[in-house]
């Protein structure tokens, strides 16, 4: 069950011609695929593409009505390989993933696909996770397009343009027998907007029809001598075909006046940012009417030389708005101008900064600086020579007042106790080299745990500890999530370690979903899924790979057991790889599933026991050791209204889900007896009530007896003026 259900939104996928679609960019993209008669769709989740995968999963009924096959791919390489169905058959296919990480994984398949070329339109939708909120290394997908000769679309970030790019992309792919990459940035994926829909189309040929009528052409197989022919074919035939298509269909757009001394060339995705800067400079209006000529590259590869040179003709200077490094566009344009002996000055990474996101401020500063140098008369006095007013509040004062808020594990997360146990093990056995992986568990590398030295790729945690497979006084520890395990870890990490007789410890963090990407099901998910095969235990797969020392822990919250098992793994004489599979369900998913059920059951009068944790504030001494071993959002501190107390005490708020971590940690680390679990029994049965009455009476009597012999201050505030 994914984190977000699109069951309601997917109904919009059914709307027909002329109706208005309203919603998020990623949903519009899905609708566009259906309008184009796509035959099959695949992909791998990861922000910002997760929602697309969730939409497709929730919309499977609609897809199958149209004869469209949807595959939740094992990883991006598998997704890329799926496009093989468009090599010989005139079937349109689309795959999607998070880039650049997903494109890295898929590049083997993509390079082979691009070499042989395609018959049916092949579209690769990449969610460009760059800039604010990104969780990955900052790179560009552009390089992949260039090195494999895949065409790259970067449409203006509004729903209409994105939908049109899907249509154009398929046609461009077919016209040039080349796969096409459609790049959408994270904000464009989540942008809420509207467009006028068209009817969905059934694929001209379904994959079933292709399967029943197989075709092959060995000239399309990447083997010598065909592979050598492909290289020439790419350059001599497919490239010119693509350029012609882009030019004839006017995929790149021109805005603003025909003439002008200066102009701006921009990636389509930068359009709204550029327009905002021009609006702020008084050079464009709300509807995009610009006083500066704009050349918008909805296709950023291949470039159309004559189009660009025509735009530059008669201009003193042209600014390239190209986000990220290297500045491939600027380099290519520079070469074009040079070869054409053009006098036009080209500017780009100066005035823009060499690296980093083109935020609102960066865009404004860059364009203003460009215009100041080359068309100062277009700027207001203020913009020509801005008097930067002092900030109202000095930055240092703000930094001192506002604490940073890094992300961390959710309330009740089952991964927290794993790392709490690991921290306790380190107290006993000393620090270890810990190799991290991709997934929620990477939050362990942030406070309060500060564990995990590297992250080398999805499913590569244990593989990234390979070099440490040497005799030494300590063993390496590596982490891998269940998502990474099935993505490629079983082979790259476990298989490799078994084969090389590794002596290290692998901790598989199994929370029943690919939780970090939004809780999608995988092979080892324990839920039933009507359209997928689940419930394949990770431990079985690991044993099948040849690991003898495997421990399955089915309740990660058991910190003492977790600690003892890790300690054993790090000290045992048993040879070979040690694997601990630590399994408990992702708490976000679990609460989403159980909360409504629980509320319903309580309403129906069923007996329900609901746990929550609390802290006895007069027992807590305010050292916060519990927080340093937890970091749970529901475990906080509060100041007491007591003049005798200097430090705030621990407190648990009502968002607590009763996972038990704080009690277990207090026990395992021998912290303090302040924590208690309160189980509230809703709709108690007759026996509950009888026992409760009996206990209350006896306990009450004893409490009364003691109270009679002492003073009771509980009604008095301990408070000084």
């Amino acid at each position: 069950m994914a984190e977000r259900s699109f069951a309601k939104e997917v109904q919009q996928l059914r709307i027909g011609a002329g109706q208005e679609f309203r919603g998020e960019g990623i949903l519009a993209l899905t609708k566009a695929l259906l309008q184009c008669g796509v035959g099959y769709v695949g992909g791998y989740q990861g922000a910002p593409i997760s929602h697309l995968m969730d939409v497709l999963a929730d919309g499977e009924e609609i897809l199958s009505e149209l004869g469209v096959h949807f595959e939740a791919s094992a990883n991006e390489a598998a997704a890329g390989a799926t496009l093989a169905a468009s090599v010989h058959y005139p079937i349109r296919g689309a795959v999607a993933w998070k880039s650049t990480v997903g494109t890295n994984v898929a590049s083997d398949a993509l390079a082979n696909l691009a070499s042989g070329g395609v018959t049916g339109g092949a579209l690769i939708v990449v969610g460009e996770d760059y800039g604010e909120g990104s969780s990955i290394m900052q790179e560009r997908s552009h390089a992949f397009a260039m090195k494999s000769q895949i065409w790259l679309l970067d449409p203006r970030p509004n729903l209409e343009s994105i939908v049109k790019a899907v249509e154009d992309g398929f046609e461009l792919s077919e016209a040039s027998n080349t796969p096409v990459m459609l790049q959408v940035r994270i904000r464009a994926c989540h942008v809420h907007g509207r467009f006028i829909a068209k009817d969905n189309q059934r694929p001209k040929m379904t994959v079933a029809e292709a399967l029943e009528n197989p075709r092959r052409d060995s000239a399309r197989v990447v083997l010598p001598p065909a592979a050598f022919a492909h290289e020439h074919e790419k350059v001599d035939r497919r490239w010119p075909a693509a350029v012609d298509f882009v030019r004839e269909r006017k995929l790149n757009e021109r805005f603003g006046p025909e003439d002008g001394r200066v102009g701006i060339v921009l990636q389509g995705g930068m359009y709204n940012g550029v327009l905002r800067a021009l609006q702020l400079l008084g050079l464009a209006d709300v509807y995009g009417e610009s006083r500066i000529p704009l050349y918008v590259l909805n296709v950023t590869y291949p470039l159309v030389d004559d189009e660009f040179l025509a735009f530059c003709a008669g201009k003193d200077a042209v600014l390239v708005v190209e986000e990220g490094q290297p500045n491939y566009l600027e380099q290519a344009f520079g070469a074009m101008l040079h070869n054409a002996d053009s006098p036009t000055r080209l500017r780009g990474k100066d005035p823009f900064p060499k690296a980093g996101e083109y935020t609102g401020q960066v865009m404004l500063d860059g364009i203003r600086a460009f215009l100041r140098d080359h068309a100062a008369e277009m700027l207001s006095d203020q913009d020509r020579a801005p008097n930067r007013s002092q900030d109202a509040v000095p930055a240092e004062e703000l930094a001192a007042a506002v604490p940073p808020r890094p992300p961390g594990f959710c309330t009740g997360c089952p991964e927290r106790p794993i790392f709490a146990a690991m921290k306790l093990v380190e107290k006993d056995l000393g620090e270890h080299h810990i190799a991290g992986d991709i997934g929620c568990h990477l939050f362990a590398s942030l406070p309060p745990f500060n564990m995990g030295a590297t992250t080398m790729g999805y499913g590569l945690g244990p593989a990234s500890a390979s070099a440490f497979n040497v005799p030494a006084g300590k063993r390496s520890i590596s982490i891998i999530g269940d998502g990474g395990f099935w993505h490629n870890g079983l082979n790259s990490s476990i298989g490799g370690a078994v084969f090389n007789k590794s002596n290290g410890l692998v901790v598989v963090v199994d929370n029943n979903y690919t939780a970090a990407t939004g809780g999608q099901d995988i092979l080892s998910s324990r839920a039933s899924n009507a359209s997928r095969s689940t419930k394949h235990p990770i431990a079985n797969a690991i044993r099948g790979m040849g690991v003898d020392w495997v421990r399955q822990i089915d309740r990660t919250y058991d910190v003492p057991k977790m600690r003892a098992t890790m300690k054993e793994a790090l000290t045992t004489d048993a040879p070979g790889l040690k694997v601990i599979v630590a399994s408990s369900e992702c708490m976000l998913n679990r609460q989403r599933r159980e909360k409504p059920q629980r509320a319903e059951a309580v309403k129906d009068g069923k007996r329900i026991v609901q746990p929550r944790f609390g802290v006895d504030e007069d027992v807590c001494t305010g050292d916060h050791a519990c927080i340093r071993l937890s970091g749970c959002p529901s475990l906080s501190v509060k100041r007491l209204d007591d003049p005798l107390r200097d430090d705030p005490v621990a407190a648990i708020d009502e968002s607590c889900v009763g996972c038990g971590n704080c009690g277990e940690v207090a026990d395992a680390a021998v912290l303090c007896p302040s924590f208690y679990r309160a189980d509230v029994v809703h709709n108690p049965n007759a026996f509950d009530r009888f026992l409760h009455r009996l206990r209350s009476r006896l306990i009450g009597a004893l409490q009364g007896r003691r109270a009679r012999g002492r003073l009771d201050f509980s009604g008095m505030p301990a408070r000084a003026g």
Partner: protein, 522 residues
């Protein structure tokens, strides 16, 4: 007042007055419903003749980090405007912050400017991890952020929107939506806002109540309420409940409090209450005797000119030292009727419901020895082999059901050992520690009043149970041990204060050791 339809500088002179886009940023902590609020705002605009666009950057921020939602809107003239997908610093009309420090972050990012931004913020705190994890008090104060906010924006609306929402059984998104309506910065009526909530169809009634509370908070409270730092009014003194004879004896002790200099009385009363509650009335008298001695010293060294600071701090820290955290105290606190009632109230246990409480205890042999008669305890502790063997029997985590009879009786029994506490090993150890500490205070008081006060305050470092307690005592010892290094210097007290603050910065006391190293180099 609406931010729309203002005229701005002309673009090429072609259009004189143009629509101005309203720009709004919502800053929320993951899980606060920032997405719901952002959807509501967008829907309200779209349903009432405006074009709107919203975006967000969730990604990892979804997991308890900070998230920014960004919305732009303009009256619908049948054409699609070009909206930006991210805010430009200095170009945001309205900022809604769902937590006080997120308002600070919005200012940090340049979204809030004095010439135009209306800043609506909740004043409640969701503490960041670094605030919570410090062994001392790491909570950042509200006042500086509110002060910065006031200086940074055109108009500030600040109220505890979290409390408002919760008191109406709803989420903060609803009260913030109400405050946004109440602020009058968007060109929509309250009814139009409410219509959006109704159209959502989930938890409508509670949301509407929270909405109204948020809206009225703006009208009632144009300026932010007094911050949490404001001093609480002292509560009227009252008498403890209990047998008449004990009450009378207690009154005799409080009479001694009344004879103290005014600045020390409140602290002394609190301290007296704590030690009597810990042990008995005689213990209270012992406490007062100890503070009496400090007062005599204080008077002799001209403490009057310093508001008897030495006595005030002695009243505080001697009480804390005497009411140390031992097994008996924990058992006593856990089995009291008042505690049972408090847990029921905190957990919201209703009449028809039953509550089970489970305590997480992990006694070690050290704690058992501390509870034995001093001689026996010492005898066992002197034999490491025996200690180890016994520890094996005792030392394990125990889940203790205090609502069940067996464990209640066990703890009740341990709590009842109170009357023999004075003979226990732990008590002897604590007494010796206390006396040594007070002796050190007396020694330095003769030459340096402020240093003596700092010596008292070092007691703050001793806290916790088992390892935590040992760590605290070691930090205490390290700071007290540094006194000879600074004695005689005019800034000696300052140094000890600084060392104590460093000791509370991290768990192992690395910052403290660094401080002591610096001191040795002086």
């Amino acid at each position: 007042m609406s931010a729309a339809t203002e005229s701005t500088g002309s673009a090429g002179g072609a259009t004189a007055a143009r629509q101005r886009i309203i720009k709004l940023a919502v800053l929320a902590v993951g899980g606060q419903g920032g997405g719901v609020l952002s959807d509501w705002i967008t829907a309200t605009a779209e349903e009432n003749g405006w074009r709107a666009q919203s975006t967000s950057v969730p990604g990892v921020a979804q997991r308890t980090g900070a998230t920014v939602y960004y919305i732009e809107m303009v009256p619908d003239e049948g054409r699609q405007p070009v909206f930006s997908l991210m805010p430009t610093p200095g170009d945001v009309d309205i900022v809604v912050a769902a937590e006080l420090m997120e308002a600070g972050r919005a200012i940090q990012r340049g979204f809030v400017t004095a010439d135009r931004t209306t800043l609506i913020t909740s004043t409640h705190r969701a503490l960041a991890l670094i605030e919570k994890a410090e062994p001392g008090d790491g909570i950042r104060p509200n006042a500086p952020v509110l002060d910065i906010a006031r200086r940074s924006c055109a108009r500030l609306i600040a109220a505890d929107m979290e409390r408002l929402a919760r008191s109406h059984g709803s989420m903060i998104s609803a009260s913030l939506f109400g405050a946004l309506a109440g602020a009058g910065v968007l060109p929509f009526t309250a009814e139009q806002f409410k219509e959006t909530i109704r159209a959502g169809g989930r938890g409508v009634e509670a949301s509407l109540r929270a909405f109204d509370a948020g809206r009225t908070s703006v009208e009632l409270n144009p300026e932010p309420a007094a911050s949490e730092d404001a001093a609480c009014a002292p509560a009227a003194p009252s008498d403890p409940a209990g047998p008449k004879a004990l009450q009378d004896a207690y009154a005799a002790l409080t009479a001694r409090v009344a004879s103290y200099p005014a600045p020390a009385q409140a602290m002394l009363a609190a301290g007296l209450q704590k030690v009597v509650d810990f042990q008995d009335l005689a213990y209270g008298a012992e406490y007062l005797d100890r503070v009496d001695a400090v007062l005599a010293l204080d008077k002799r060294i001209d403490g009057g000119s310093r508001n008897f600071l030495l006595t005030v701090d002695a009243a505080k820290y001697i009480a804390n030292a005497m009411a140390y955290d031992d097994v008996v105290r924990v058992a006593d606190l856990k089995t009291r009727a008042s505690r049972f009632a408090r847990v029921r109230a905190e957990m919201g246990v209703g009449e028809g419901q039953v509550l089970h409480t489970t305590e997480f205890m992990h006694p070690r042999m050290e704690e058992v020895c501390g509870t034995l008669p001093a001689g026996l305890g010492r005898w066992i502790e002197a034999r490491p082999g025996l200690m180890r063997n016994l520890d094996r029997l005792v030392n394990r985590g125990r889940r203790v059901r205090t609502d069940g009879l067996f464990w209640f009786l066990m703890l009740y029994g341990v709590g009842g050992l109170r009357r023999w506490r004075r003979g226990m090993l732990r008590h002897k150890v604590e007494q010796a520690h206390l006396e040594a500490w007070l002796a050190e205070m007396r020694r330095v008081a003769e030459q340096d009043y402020d240093l003596a006060v700092e010596v008292l305050r070092c007691r703050r470092l001793v806290k916790g149970y088992s390892d935590t307690h040992a760590r605290g005592e070691s930090k205490f010892a390290r700071v007290i041990g540094a006194i000879p290094l600074v004695e005689g210097r005019p800034d000696a007290a300052d140094w000890i204060r600084r060392l104590r603050e460093l000791a509370l910065k991290d768990e192992a006391g690395e910052a403290l050791d660094g401080g002591i190293r610096t001191l040795r180099e002086l």
